[in-house]
């Protein structure tokens, strides 16, 4: 037999780096700092856990792939997110190669707890580089770390870093560029019998030799029930594990606690030799002092509401300038295109369909970016955890788990990642309740709808008044979500809610580079969506609002719209929506926006531009003014204050998002829950809007 050397392909030459670490230790900051704009977001195959991947160049210019793993405290999983991190590191996920090197990010101010995951990573027999992040915070907290001792005891490179300031990035790249990368020299020592049993079990596992030992350790640390539920191994392996566990117990060793104890004993030795200083300052730290106000029973709420109020105020005032520029740009493009083309359906399609439809949505990009800017700041500063803490008091009263707060907060951006984030909730009932109420949180797609309705409602009011109405809509979503959660928890998903255990990271300066990158990423996604889905929908909606044409050539635009497919659909649902104060044109908007809520604005742009196209030479009449001037047959205005508020209430509560339905189906693995959710949210929206409109009229409002 001859030895054959397989030539290294380009793909093999690219080093695969995985970033692992506890939540809130700065993994994503390091990931963003290394990859910059060379990153993409997707899902892991088969599951909906977010997968962030990027590329960067090592210190010698060699290309490397970087994978940001979900945060986890150990490889003993408690949630689907942690399962993904473990499976990637063990090379279990099909289609994702096992990494060549792991960057273990640890929070220097919380070394002991962070080292548990490192202890397990060192057992994986993969090269590890420890990124000792937030050393500045540790120093401020009085924790002094002897780097030489830590390197010696861990047996791997340890890079002190302040990722938010870029400190240590060069050294990290140098460590990752080392060739060859050396495997860890040390790991936590186990008792000889445990070591022996783990080796013996590893020999029986049908997995590659390099992952057999860590797989065996993970198997030995599983309790009986977990072994029963195990799907990754066959029955022979499970039986062999049970026998090994039995032998260990007979020898007086509890296999589960023995492994944990051994690791903690080793961590204690490492910390004892490398950490000096108590880690506790002379008095309260700055974070503690801030928390005395920010997590106060009363002041905490005041701060929370003030931050939310400021966010919405900025969304209305600061965003107005770029919105005006975009609006002006769209007007100019429409005018120019209109002047270059002869009159006909094609010109109408381009100006009234494409430019009005896409422009009507793109104009809201600045507001969405400001929303993401604030969410980024809140997350990076560590305020999110405080907000979760404040909300937990309220949430526990309605039976929701404190961990539900992050998914619910995430749903302000988009319900889809919010629903995906529920996987951190271990209890199935709590998770289902959170999934069912998450779409009630006002997502960024509702922002354009609120913005246009508020503009129609109070066109010349101050930013404060507009922000106030917007805040009310967000609060309505929150309150309804809590009431529904209470109803579901007391009627359908009865059960105890586990106590909230939450880590409060110290307050830190946000990384504006990271936030900027996130905003860039979201802007790209929003514009891509505007250029694909919204564009195609605008074309189709224009066609539906234009064809068939009325046989009477002298028909008015209103008669022509009424004769079209869209008009017929609007008329078909008019009897149902008339009690809400909506006419058939709003009905067209409601139907169109079931695909995505923001399409309501582009539908309205198309409907009113189509209608006005022959009355006005300007192809893009500002939508707000057109809607304000719209009248019914009897001459009364269509968009009265009650109709505007009713429409906003409808959009707060209705499940107008087909993608969310699909994701809930996937997450709950059945059609039962998405259909239930669709039914209850639509009913809720209808009844609430009916109460607003009819109740308002009874009270004498219009």
């Amino acid at each position: 037999m001859s030895n054959v050397t397989v030539p290294a392909t380009t793909e093999q030459a690219v080093r695969r780096v995985a970033i692992a670490g506890n939540p809130n230790c700065g993994k994503s900051t390091i990931f963003n700092a290394l990859t910059g704009l060379r990153q993409k977001v997707g899902n892991y195959p088969g599951v909906t856990v977010e997968r962030k991947e990027g590329s960067f160049f090592g210190s010698h210019g060699e290309p490397m792939n970087l994978l940001d793993l979900p945060g986890s405290y150990s490889l003993q999983i408690r949630s689907p997110d942690e399962a993904v991190a473990r499976d990637v590191l063990l090379g279990r996920l099909p289609g994702i190669a096992r990494p060549d090197v792991i960057v273990a990010v640890i929070d220097a101010s919380n070394l002991e707890r962070n080292l548990y995951l490192v202890a397990q990573l060192l057992e994986l027999e993969l090269p590890v580089v420890v990124a000792l992040n937030m050393v500045d915070m540790a120093e401020k907290a009085g924790v002094l770390i002897d780097l030489a001792a830590l390197r010696e005891l861990l047996g791997v490179p340890v890079i002190p870093m302040v990722a938010t300031k870029g400190v240590g990035m060069v050294e990290l790249k140098q460590a990752l560029s080392q060739t060859p990368l050396s495997k860890p020299k040390h790991r936590a020592p186990f008792q000889p019998l445990m070591e022996e049993e783990a080796r013996a079990l590893a020999g029986q596992l049908p997995v590659p030799a390099e992952v057999a030992f860590p797989e065996a350790l993970l198997l030995l640390s599983l309790h009986d029930q977990a072994l029963d539920e195990l799907a990754a191994h066959d029955s022979k392996v499970i039986e062999a594990t049970r026998q090994a566990q039995h032998r260990l117990r007979q020898a007086g060793l509890d296999p589960i606690s023995a492994l944990v104890d051994a690791r903690y004993a080793w961590i204690h030795t490492v910390c004892h030799a490398s950490v000096s200083g108590s880690g506790v300052g002379d008095g309260l730290s700055a974070s503690d002092r801030i928390d005395m106000v920010f997590t106060h029973r009363i002041w905490g709420w005041a701060v929370f509401l003030a931050i939310m109020g400021l966010m919405f105020f900025c969304i209305f005032t600061v965003a107005q300038y770029p919105m005006d520029w975009i609006n002006g740009g769209c007007d100019w493009v429409a005018e120019w295109v209109g002047s270059q083309m002869r009159e006909g359906d094609l010109r109408s399609l381009v100006t009234d369909g494409i430019i009005a439809g896409v422009g009507g949505v793109v104009i809201f990009l600045p507001q969405i970016l400001i929303l993401y800017f604030f969410l980024g700041i809140l997350e990076d500063t560590g305020y999110m955890a405080r907000a979760a803490f404040i909300m937990d008091r309220l949430m526990s009263r309605v039976g929701l788990h404190g961990k539900s707060f992050i998914p619910l907060l995430g749903s302000f951006a988009c319900a889809i990642p919010g629903i995906m984030a529920t996987r951190t909730i271990e209890n199935r009932k709590d998770r289902l309740v959170t999934i069912l109420v998450a779409p009630l949180m006002s997502c960024s797609a509702r922002l354009p709808v609120y913005a246009i309705m508020i503009a129609v409602l109070i066109p010349i009011a101050s930013g404060f008044a507009k922000a106030g109405i917007m805040l009310c809509m967000y609060l309505l979503g929150i309150v309804t979500a809590f009431l529904m959660a209470w109803f579901l928890k007391t009627r359908i998903f009865k059960g105890e809610t586990p106590m909230l255990l939450l880590e409060m990271p110290p307050y830190r300066m946000p990384s504006f580079r990271s936030i900027g990158l996130r905003m860039w990423e979201r802007a790209g996604l929003f514009l891509r969506r505007a250029g694909t889905v919204i564009l195609a929908l605008s074309v189709l909606l224009w066609a539906l609002a234009t064809y068939p044409k009325p046989p009477d050539k002298e028909a008015t635009p209103s008669e022509a719209l009424s004769y079209s497919f869209a008009g017929r659909m609007g008329h078909a649902i008019e009897p149902i929506i008339a009690p809400l104060g909506f006419d058939w044109k709003i009905g067209i908007g409601l139907i169109g926006s079931f695909a995505a809520r923001e399409v309501f604005v582009s539908t309205m742009s198309i409907v009113y531009n189509v209608e006005n196209s022959e009355e006005d030479d300007e192809s893009l009449v500002p939508l707000r003014d057109t809607m304000r001037n719209e009248t019914r047959g009897d001459g009364s205005p269509v968009f009265t204050p009650l109709v505007c508020i009713g429409l906003m209430v409808f959009y707060v509560l209705a499940m107008q998002c087909i993608s969310t339905v699909a994701v809930v189906r996937r997450e709950t693995n059945s059609w039962r829950w998405p259909l239930f959710q669709l039914a209850y949210m639509t009913a809720l929206a209808y009844v609430a809007t009916l109460v607003v409109y009819q109740g308002g009229r009874l009270l004498g409002y219009q």
């Binding site: 899902n43 990642p417 969506r529 074309v539």
Partner: protein, 46 residues
């Protein structure tokens, strides 16, 4: 523009938009679910 050409151009664009959604539907069925627009649902393969 010739009215026929005008109608053909409109027909092509509208058919393209319709085709986009049909293709998207089949592509999403093959992949791991739909695209929410948040960019977090689509599986991106190398």
């Amino acid at each position: 523009m010739n009215p026929w050409l005008d109608q053909i151009a409109v027909g092509v664009i509208v058919s393209g938009a319709l085709g986009f959604f049909v293709l998207r539907f089949f592509r999403n069925r093959k992949r791991n679910g739909g695209d929410c627009g948040g960019g977090c649902c689509a599986v991106k393969k190398k």
